[in-house]
């Protein structure tokens, strides 16, 4: 019996099972569908809404949701649906960039700490302790108070706040794998330390980073929206969800739709990302997601 057809058959079974599992879990399905919309909104917002998110029209201010303006219009008469659709770009961009900074810097620090013993490890670990002793949002606020508000500064501040969670996991993984049987065995082959790290330690130590990043993306988006709400992020008239919420505060009584839709967008995006991330983590750890 040749091994190839069996593997193929197994793959087919696996695929069918995965599909079946997806249909059996409507949450997973809906989350994927919603994120697809968010992705489209991020890349080609024009596909979803032809209205200009920045075009003000005082004559059309504060119109309730209708066939023409699905989500209604805001106090300046801008189309809320268009602003929400165009706002996805800000949230996703800030979230992804912040997580990218956090995961890259964090993984590098974690790897360094895990591989080196003594002073270097100690120094890095204590530094991480200091950073992670501040809540993400507070730390980012402090950093922004030095750098001043703005999209790039917000990304940087959040990225720094996200470093410890990645560094910790990577350090622990590296530590375990560096002492594993196969690394010891590879040492007996006379491989150089560089080859050893690149070939056997790095791939395993970083295996969980994409999963952590996905789960972290949700909190990054919330934090970004929160900081924007406080005016630390993209400046008006940019259609950022958090900033839109801040503007809508004053009109909540007379025009609920200005504030509710960006809020719904934030909530659904974060929940969807979290569902997918947890599911991925569970399948990675060999557990079944609840």
């Amino acid at each position: 019996m040749s091994a190839v057809p069996t593997t193929l058959a197994r793959r087919g079974v696996r695929f069918r099972r995965a599909l079946h599992g997806l249909l059996a879990r409507p949450g997973l399905w809906l989350a994927s569908l919603f994120l697809l919309f968010v992705a489209v909104a991020t890349l080609w917002p024009g596909l979803l809404s032809s209205a200009d998110p920045l075009a003000a029209d005082p004559l059309q201010a504060q119109l309730p949701p209708s066939a023409e303006h699905w989500f209604g219009t805001d106090h300046l008469g801008r189309d809320v649906f268009s602003r929400v659709a165009h706002g996805a770009r800000y949230s996703i961009l800030i979230g992804v960039s912040a997580v990218a900074i956090g995961s890259i810097v964090g993984s590098a620090l974690g790897l360094l700490a895990g591989l080196s013993r003594g002073l270097v490890d100690e120094a890095i670990s204590r530094f991480l302790d200091v950073v992670s002793s501040f809540p993400d949002l507070l730390l980012a606020l402090v950093l922004i108070s030095f750098t001043g508000p703005g999209t790039l500064n917000l990304i940087f501040a959040l990225g720094v706040a996200f470093v410890p969670r990645f560094a910790r996991v990577v350090r622990a993984q590296t530590f375990v794998i560096a002492r594993s049987g196969y690394v010891e065995q590879a040492r007996t082959f006379g491989l150089t330390p560089t080859v050893l790290v690149l070939r056997h330690i790095l791939p395993h130590a970083l295996a969980q980073v994409p999963i952590l990043a996905t789960i972290g993306l949700g909190s990054a988006i919330i934090s970004a929206a929160g900081l924007s709400f406080l005016g630390m992020g993209p400046q008006p008239p940019a259609p950022e969800w958090g900033a839109m919420l801040a503007e809508a505060r004053n009109y909540l009584r007379v025009a609920w739709w200005i504030g509710v839709w960006p809020g719904v967008a934030i909530t659904l995006t974060v929940i969807s990302i979290s569902i997918l991330g947890r599911r991925w983590q569970a399948s990675f750890e060999g557990r079944r997601a609840r």
């Binding site: 196969y182 040492r187 007996t188 006379g190 056997h200 395993h204």
Partner: protein, 551 residues
């Protein structure tokens, strides 16, 4: 008198990919009061799940069927969890293989014994403390008062296994089932546990032993059932099974046990035994296939170690290795024997240059090996290879068999077509076909994994091979195949072998000279035949005494 256990046509299956895969295919099992019955077979033969079905623990997914299934005269067919619970502990006690896993690490021994004795609150036994002490004494644990207050991790492996047996017999069950009770233990400790079980059996305890090792059960059992692929292939009184086995598989199991007689011969049959039991050779005339002769070049020393000392925990720490010297000639096999904690693995690590000795030197091919920089060692590492005890953990899980074996050729600079060819060659030598090249280690069986490890070790044509307990995690029959391979390849290639093991039988089978270690020191050394025939040190004698032999 009615038998304690009476099972007819037992079948057990597990669901897999939509259909039920049978693991036990219609076996009969009868156990009489006071009898000791052994169920012998290799992993996957269905022996463990058979034993578990006796206490209703074969798993929620298992489908158990039988024509007749009676325990103590009561049919257990259609039993629900509640019904089984009345049986467990009370009628049947169960001892699992690994006491460290089976005992709750957060509960004291006394608590675990009280738990096992059952009853709580108002129904708690009045004299729990006294009962517990008596229980520990009955399983031969000295100083029971001290042990009762301790946690499982504070007990040695042997004491732990005894404590586990104590929990199993706490309610004096009619039947005691022991599933591989000694497999994880050192030879001397194994003997103590077997003696303890023998004692219980003499005192009238009915025993069901599960093991892969005929030699182990031969000491105890009145009757042996040999199981293979879910069926009983042979059944009879122990003596008959040992001296006049009918089924070829039974003979294969018997041959697989390394002993003085097997020295110089293969342990496993070259091919699968015939399916029926018609071969008429009597055991004494059983055909043994000789191993190829070795070429030992006494004049060329591959390895010499002198006065090695290694302490852990600083200058005042305990000695892991204390003044150990030995040498190894080209083509020779040297065995290092000792129990866990005797320092034998540390010696292996020093030889491999993974641990620096505190003092003493190692020379490889006459050149200094210890206390030289890693950069200088690196190019010489290809000439020495390691076969680790746990093959699976020595493989990078992302690697295929081809990559695993090929990696050892990195340092000899063999890449591309030449590497592919060499990998195919060594895999062929360990009898793994090309279909294994793309497999991942987790998809291999224990024996196949160890063969991949052997192939990898031989691939760069090393001068020295260090094997650290390479077969101690394997079934006897698989162990036989792996030992044969090692012996064959070692003889054919002329590689020197440093073989570390706690199993004297294996060492005797495979090596030319032996070093007996205890507490970091060498207590005896010499030619294998000599040491085994007339051991000088009392410790060597105790070790030899503990080797299970086929009676």
């Amino acid at each position: 008198m009615k038998p304690l256990v009476q099972i007819r046509d037992l079948t057990i299956g597990f669901p897999q990919d939509g259909s039920v895969t049978p693991v036990v295919r219609g076996i009969d099992l009868t156990i009489h009061m006071g009898e000791t019955v052994a169920l012998v077979g290799e992993s996957g033969s269905g022996k463990s799940v058979t034993a578990r079905s006796l206490i209703g623990l074969s798993g929620a997914e298992a489908s158990v069927g039988a024509g007749r299934f009676e325990i103590d005269g009561q049919s257990v067919l259609g039993f629900r969890e509640r019904d089984w619970r009345r049986l467990r502990g009370d009628k049947i006690g169960f001892v699992l293989q690994d006491a460290l896993v089976s005992l709750d690490p957060l509960r004291r021994i006394s608590q675990q014994l009280t738990d096992a004795a059952g009853g709580s609150g108002f129904f708690r036994r009045q004299n729990a403390a006294r009962d517990n002490r008596a229980l520990l004494q009955s399983v031969g644990i000295p100083d029971p008062d001290r042990r009762l207050a301790q946690y499982p991790h504070q007990l040695s492996g042997g004491l732990r296994q005894r404590a586990l047996i104590a929990t199993a017999i706490a309610r004096s069950p009619s039947l005691l089932i022991a599933d591989e009770p000694t497999t994880a233990l050192d030879a001397t400790v194994q003997k103590q546990i077997l003696d303890l079980l023998a004692e219980r059996s003499k005192a009238g305890q009915t025993l069901l032993l599960i093991s892969h090792d005929l030699a182990v059960v031969s000491r105890l059992a009145d009757r042996v059932l040999v199981m293979r692929q879910g069926r009983i292939v042979e059944e009879g009184p122990t003596r008959t099974i040992l001296t006049a086995p009918e089924h070829p598989y039974t003979r294969q199991l018997l041959d697989a046990v390394p002993s003085v007689r097997s020295r110089g011969f293969r342990l496993s049959a070259g091919s699968e035994p015939e399916a029926n039991g018609s071969v008429e050779a009597r055991p004494a005339e059983r055909l043994r296939i000789p191993l190829p002769p070795k070429r030992i070049d006494e004049t060329s020393l591959v390895l010499s170690a002198s006065h090695l000392v290694k302490r852990y925990g600083g200058a005042s720490g305990t000695f892991a290795v204390n003044d150990v010297s030995f040498h190894l000639a080209a083509g020779e096999a040297l065995g290092i024997v000792g129990e866990s904690g005797s320092g034998k693995t540390t010696v292996a690590k020093i030889v491999l240059g993974l641990v620096e000795p505190d003092s003493g030197t190692v020379q490889i091919d006459g050149e200094a090996w210890s206390h030289v920089g890693e950069a200088q060692r690196r190019s010489r590492r290809a000439s020495m290879q390691l076969i680790a005890q746990d093959a699976l953990s020595s493989f990078d899980p992302r690697y295929t068999v081809e990559q695993i074996v090929g990696e050892s050729l990195d340092t000899v600079g063999m890449f591309g077509e030449a590497r592919r060819q060499r990998v195919g060659e060594v895999l062929d030598a360990v009898r793994l076909g090309p279909s294994f090249l793309k497999r991942y280690p987790r998809d291999l069986s224990g024996g196949q994994r160890q063969r991949v490890a052997i192939a990898r070790a031989f691939a760069p044509r090393p001068r020295l091979l260090v094997a650290d307990e390479p077969v101690s995690a394997l079934d006897v029959s698989v162990q036989a195949q792996v030992l044969d391979l090692l012996a064959e390849l070692q003889a054919a290639s002329g590689t020197s072998l440093l073989f570390i093991s706690h199993d004297l039988g294996v060492v005797n089978h495979l090596t030319d000279r032996v070093l007996v270690m205890k507490d970091g020191r060498v207590v005896e050394t010499g030619q294998v035949e000599q040491v085994f025939a007339s051991p000088h040190h009392s410790y060597t004698r105790a070790l030899l005494d503990a080797v299970p032999v086929l009676a």
